[in-house]
C-alpha cells in the first residue's frame, strides 16, 4: 500500500514537473532560435514572466461572448493537463500509465482543438472563423498520419500503451528498424503541424493573414490567453516527450529509486534540449509554406507512416 502511495505521489510530481517545465522549453527554443538568427535573445524564463503578466491583467470580453467562450480556456488547459499526466516523462510504470494510451492522447488533443475552434466561431469575427476552418483542415489531415505512425510502432510493441511501448524499446536494445525511422520522420512532421510551428504555421506572428492557431485565439486576453498559451507550450513538450519515449527512451527510470529518477530527469532534459535545437534548425532553414501546400506536406507524412507500416510487415516480420 505504501509503495502504491509513493507511485501516485511520483505520478503527481511528474505531471507538475511537466506543466512547470513546458514554458522553460518554449523559452529555450526561443533563445536558441534568437542566437541562431543573430538576434538579441530573451532570457529562458521569459515565458514565465509573460504568463505571470497575462494572469495579472484584467479580463476584457467581447460583448457577444457566450459561456462557451469563457469555459474553453479551462477545457483546453484541462485536456492538455490530462494528456501531460499520461505521458511518461522521467519514469515508466507509474499508475497513470494505465491511461497512457496514445489513442487517448490523440483524443485529448482533438477535444482541446474542437473546443478552441468552437470558441473561435463563438465571437463571430472573420479571423476566428477563418482560423477555425484552417485549423480543422490541418487537423483532419494530421490525425490520420499521427495514428498511422502510432500503429506502426504498436505493431512492434504489440500495444498502443505508451509505457509498454517505451519498455519494449528499452528491452530490445539497439535494433535497426526501418519502420521506426519512417515513423519517426512522420511523427516529427505531424508534431510540427500540430504544434503550429514553421513551415505549417508561424508561432511568432500576430495579425497576419496566414496565421492558423493565432487567428483562433485572437479575441482572448488576460488569464484566458495565459491558459491557452500555456496549453500550447505543454502540447509542444508532450509531442517532444512522445518522440523521445518512442524512439530514444534510454535513461528513463523503470524503478522508483532516487538515483534512477535523477538519471531520468537528467536524460530527459538533455534529450529535450537537443530535440529543441533540432526544431530550431528546422525552423530556421525552412520558410513558411503556403496554406495550400500543407495538405501535400501532411500527405507526405502519411505516406511515410504508411511506408513504415509496410516495411514493418514486409521487411521486419517477413513471410
Amino acid at each position: 500500500m505504501n509503495s502504491q502511495s509513493i507511485a501516485w505521489t511520483l505520478a503527481a510530481a511528474q505531471t507538475l514537473l511537466f506543466i512547470l517545465a513546458a514554458p522553460l522549453l518554449a523559452g529555450w527554443v526561443k533563445r536558441v532560435k534568437c542566437h541562431l538568427q543573430n538576434r538579441a535573445a530573451p532570457a529562458v524564463w521569459q515565458p514565465y514572466r509573460d504568463l505571470a503578466k497575462l494572469i495579472k491583467k484584467n479580463l476584457v470580453l467581447a460583448e457577444n461572448a457566450s459561456w462557451l467562450f469563457r469555459a474553453v480556456p479551462y477545457i483546453v488547459f484541462g485536456a492538455t493537463l490530462l494528456a501531460a499526466a499520461a505521458v511518461p516523462l522521467i519514469a515508466v510504470h507509474l499508475p497513470t500509465s494505465a491511461i497512457a494510451d496514445v489513442i487517448v492522447l490523440v483524443g485529448f488533443f482533438a477535444l482541446a482543438r474542437f473546443f478552441t475552434a468552437l470558441a473561435a466561431l463563438d465571437i463571430g469575427t472573420a479571423f476566428g472563423g477563418m482560423g477555425a476552418s484552417r485549423e480543422m483542415t490541418v487537423a483532419a489531415l494530421a490525425e490520420p498520419a499521427m495514428l498511422m505512425a502510432v500503429f506502426t510502432l504498436a505493431m512492434t510493441a504489440h500495444s498502443t500503451n505508451l509505457s509498454v511501448a517505451t519498455e519494449t524499446v528499452l528491452q530490445a536494445g539497439l535494433v535497426l528498424r526501418p519502420s521506426f525511422l519512417f515513423a519517426l520522420l512522420a511523427l516529427l512532421m505531424v508534431a510540427v503541424a500540430e504544434c503550429g510551428r514553421i513551415p505549417v504555421d508561424n508561432p511568432a506572428t500576430h495579425l497576419e493573414l496566414t496565421m492558423l492557431h493565432e487567428a483562433m485565439i485572437l479575441e482572448y486576453n488576460g488569464r484566458h490567453l495565459a491558459l491557452i498559451e500555456w496549453a500550447a507550450q505543454i502540447k509542444l513538450m508532450i509531442y517532444a516527450v512522445l518522440i523521445i519515449d518512442f524512439f530514444f527512451p534510454w535513461g528513463i527510470a523503470s524503478e522508483f529509486s532516487a538515483s534512477a529518477l535523477s538519471v531520468g530527469v537528467l536524460a530527459v532534459t538533455a534529450k529535450l534540449m537537443l530535440l529543441a535545437m533540432l526544431l530550431v534548425v528546422w525552423e530556421t532553414v525552412l520558410a513558411k509554406m503556403r496554406l495550400f501546400r500543407v495538405p501535400q506536406f501532411l500527405g507526405f507524412a502519411f505516406l511515410l507512416a504508411l511506408l513504415g507500416m509496410l516495411t514493418n510487415v514486409v521487411l521486419e516480420t517477413g513471410g
Binding site: L307, L310, T311
Partner: protein
C-alpha cells in the same frame, strides 16, 4: 524471422533496402528536374552501400566490384550526364505538374503490397538473411514502371527506366548474391549506352516539339508543323480535327 535475431549487418541491409524503397517514392512525387536526378543518384548510393553490406555478410568478393560499378555508373556518370543534358536543354528549373500526387503515392503503396504477395513464395523457399528484401526490390522495379507510365516528361520517364534497372540489380544482389560478373558488366554498359541514346532522343524531341513532354508524341499533327503547344486542350482539339 524476427528482426532482432539478425546480426547488426543484416539489420543494416534491411534498413538500407527500406531507404532505397523510400527514394523510389520520393522520385515518384518529385516534380523538379534537378532534385529528381539527385534523388536517383542517392538511390544508387544507398544501393551501393547495401551491396557492400551484403558482400560483408555473405563473403562474396565480386559484390565489391558490383558496388564500385554502381557508384561509378549510377552515382557518378549517369546522373552527371542527365544533369548536363538538363542544363544544356535549359530545363533544370522546369517543374512538371502531376495530376493527382496523393493518388499516385497511394498507388505506389498498393504496388508495394502487390510485390509483397508476389515475393512471398520466394521468401518461403529462400534461406538467405536478406530474403525479405526481395519484395522491396520488386517494388522498386514496379515503382519505376509506374513512374514511366504516369509521368509526362521524357526526363522523368528515363529516370523511371533507370530506377527499374536499379530494382533488377538489387533483386539480383539480395536474392542470389549478385548476377555473374560478365552479365552485370554487360547490363551496366547497356544502361550507359541507353543514357547516351536518351540524350540524343531528348534533342530530337525538343527539336520537333520544342518541349520534352512525351504527350506530344500521341498527337496526330505533323512534327514540323508550327503546332500550338502552349495549352494541351488546344492541341487535343486540333488532334481531333486531323
Amino acid at each position: 524471422m524476427a528482426l532482432s535475431s539478425l546480426s547488426l549487418y543484416s539489420q543494416a541491409i534491411i534498413l538500407f533496402a527500406a531507404l532505397v524503397l523510400f527514394t523510389s517514392f520520393v522520385m515518384l512525387a518529385q516534380t523538379r528536374m534537378v532534385p529528381l536526378i539527385f534523388t536517383f543518384a542517392w538511390q544508387g548510393l544507398l544501393m551501393a552501400v547495401a551491396t557492400v553490406l551484403v558482400a560483408i555478410v555473405s563473403g562474396h568478393k565480386h559484390l565489391y566490384i558490383s558496388a564500385a560499378l554502381t557508384v561509378v555508373l549510377k552515382v557518378g556518370l549517369i546522373p552527371w550526364l542527365l544533369y548536363r543534358l538538363s542544363v544544356r536543354l535549359d530545363m533544370n528549373y522546369e517543374t512538371e505538374a502531376i495530376k493527382h500526387p496523393s493518388l499516385l503515392l497511394l498507388g505506389g503503396a498498393g504496388l508495394v503490397i502487390f510485390s509483397y504477395f508476389i515475393a512471398l513464395p520466394i521468401v518461403h523457399l529462400s534461406g538467405l538473411a536478406t530474403r525479405n528484401t526481395i519484395a522491396v526490390s520488386i517494388a522498386v522495379e514496379l515503382l519505376g514502371m509506374l513512374m514511366m507510365s504516369v509521368r509526362g516528361t521524357a526526363m522523368a520517364q528515363v529516370i523511371g527506366f533507370m530506377s527499374m534497372e536499379n530494382g533488377l540489380f538489387f533483386a539480383a544482389v539480395v536474392s542470389t548474391y549478385g548476377m555473374p560478373l560478365i552479365v552485370e558488366l554487360g547490363v551496366a554498359f547497356d544502361v550507359m549506352v541507353a543514357s547516351i541514346l536518351f540524350g540524343v532522343f531528348f534533342f530530337h524531341l525538343r527539336d520537333s516539339f520544342d518541349s520534352l513532354d512525351v504527350g506530344h508524341l500521341n498527337l496526330l499533327s505533323e512534327a514540323n508543323e508550327p503546332a500550338p503547344l502552349a495549352e494541351t486542350p488546344a492541341a487535343s482539339t486540333q488532334g481531333e480535327h486531323a
